[in-house]
Amino acid sequence: MLCSVCTAPVCTNAQVGCHAVSLNNLFDRIIQHSAKMHRVSNDLHQQFELHVLPSRNQVGRGGHICHTSTIMTPNGKENAQRMAREGLTQVILQLLMAWTDPLMNLHHSSTNVSVDMSSMVGELRRGVQRLAEKMHTLGLLTDPDSSVVSPEALMTSHPVPWRLMNLYDILYCFRRDSNKVHNYLRILKCRIVPEHGC
């Protein structure tokens, strides 16, 4: 269902000075933020490969086990398109939730990584949560069983605790997951508000 009237105010808390943001605008901001996050993660990974492992080519070695592997994510275009909006939104939120702590730890522990990506992830997560609320308000999210509003329910046990991952794995996995998030957000946007950029 395409959103035809997507300018409902999001300020449900009756906050003073709260500006109404359109859904299209919200999507654009989120996607921009996600792209930036992906760019940063890509640069980090590349730098790491260039300096730490110069002999490797770009194809990269297989065998990276990410702690987010247990999260069921669509691995193709058809799978992503078949997935409901609620499911996609949930996956996005799950991924973002999973990376907050590892990145925070990475920033604090490793001197090589100066960029605090955890704040980026946190911001993106909040944005997506706002987006989910807005969509729910607009009635775009019809599945009542999806617990998108409560992020705590998204926390699942990881098969591989992230503390066991080395830096290289973290960088690799984060890069991959940021790309996932970015893709999912784009699909969501082009499905709901397909105007600009689709």
Binding site: A35, H38, R39, N42, P54, S55, R56, N57, Q58, V59, G60, R61, G62, G63, H64, T73, N75, G76, K77, E78, A80, Q81, R176, N179, K180, H182, N183, R186, I187, L188, K189, C190, R191, P194, G197, C198
Partner: protein
Amino acid sequence: MPLNSPWNPLIIRLSSSKVSPLEPHFTDCVSREQETFRCWWSPGIFQNLSSPGDLRVFYLKKESLSSEWKECPEYIHSNRECFFDRNHTAIWITYCMQLRSQNTRYINEDDCFTVENIVRPDPPVSLNWTLLNVSPSGLSYDVVVIWTPPPSADVRVGWMRIEYEVQYREINTTNWEALEVQPYTKQTIYGLHVGKEYEVHIRCKMQGFSKYGDFSDSIFIQVTDIVTEEPLMFILVLVLGIVGVLILIMLIAITQQHRLMMILLPPVPAPKIKGIDSELLKKGKLDDLNFFLNGGGFGGLPPYAPEFYHDEPWVEFIEVEAEDRDGGGKDDSLTSDTQMLLGLTQTGCHHINLGCSNALGFPNNNLGQTSCYDPAVLEANSLMLMGSLLPGQPEEEEEEEKEAASFNDIKRCPTSAESDENKHNPVQPTWINTDFYAQVSNVMPSGGVVLSPGQHVRTQESSSTTEEETRKKENIIETEEKKQTKLLVVNPEGNGYTVENIRSPPPSTSVSPTEYQTVEPSPMSRSHGNQSANIVPDPPRCQIFTPVADYTVVQELDSHRSLILQPPPPPPPPQQSLPSCVPLKVPIGYITPDLLGSLSP
């Protein structure tokens, strides 16, 4: 080596520092749209494994810990290519490739990848360009290149976000100019040169990734000098418009010429000389004019004189001397109008009081001097006067000759008897230098008009001896006579007073223009004595205050339409040496309003 693959086989990704391995290996794996991918392999130096089937491709898709190696889902042996379709392609999942021969496994750990990392988008399609603008000099221009995303890349769903890099170069050069990568499907190229041909191509890459696809087919941009035609056309249209407007204005001017002339150049009122028909003047018929002015055969005044008199309170005869032949006529500043009128000039000997050899002699007055009345001279002078009424009018030759003849007479310079005076005192009454026209400043109760001071002339006035003065006086008197006669409309019958002494010269050489003599008409025949009596009798000694007898007051008209002038006041005693001159009361030459009524034709 898949030479005929659609992808440029030259793009072989090798290990960053290794040479191509000798054993069988994968040369490249590429995905075009992030939905499928292909891998090519090479047997290496093991050419015995080059035939199809010798080497088999296995892949490992690391979805879970229990993944296993699977064989290539689709072989394209002609290309040594393994194609993975959508069902076998998963994104964000690591694939590891393996080549296996009959009994050997050639595994390279570097051959593991994720599909999103091997995506090289197809080039864009439908390239086109439009002219954006041209520089004012017409030498350079900007174009906008537009295209559509590659059809294989599903941008509409948001599955792929593509960025484009536009490159252009001048034809037959080697260096491409690369513009900044940007995600929109149009790009402006600035600063192309007119007349040169440019080649443009575009390639794509995924946003956030670094692998470019192949270049698109080139398009060619060229702009010739056609752009300069636009201002030319504009100028042409402008010129035609102006020409059309000009033609329209000319047509209007031609058709409405008369009206326009009336509006733009209103007719200037022609100067009117009372009693003179302007047409006559234009035609230059001096004879007729003279005839009219001299009485037109009826004697006395011209036939239209009564009307004339009724209209004007005074009779004013504008009499001007003929043009000075020598001095350039009226423009000669040295000769005033008075001089010209009276025929006295500095240069020429136009004055009249010269020896009148062929003149009739008249008995002298008490001055004992014969004065001449030369009808020929008179007539000539009249002609001169008449001629001078037509300033600038070309006079007929015969009249000119006539006048010249008369001039010759007139030019006769003073006789020896008078030469002395002439030498000493160029016979020109100095008052002659005063302007003929003077402003009336006051009207006397007796009817005289007082003129405001005009030019004082006083020149070669030498305080000669009494004798000289007498002579002068006599000369002057003669001059005056001549002048009077000249100026007057002569009444042949002599009945009554004929003299219309329009002006009677003052007896002395110095004259005050403010004072005039009163000429008293007396029923005397036209005699010298009479005339002399009419001549200004006033103290000639009065250097400064002697009246300017330019005008004579006309008292009345006689039966013959002659103006009867007031006789001048009786001359003062000759011993008067100077000064207190009796100011004349009645200006000469004017008819006072009260006199007008007494005038009758």
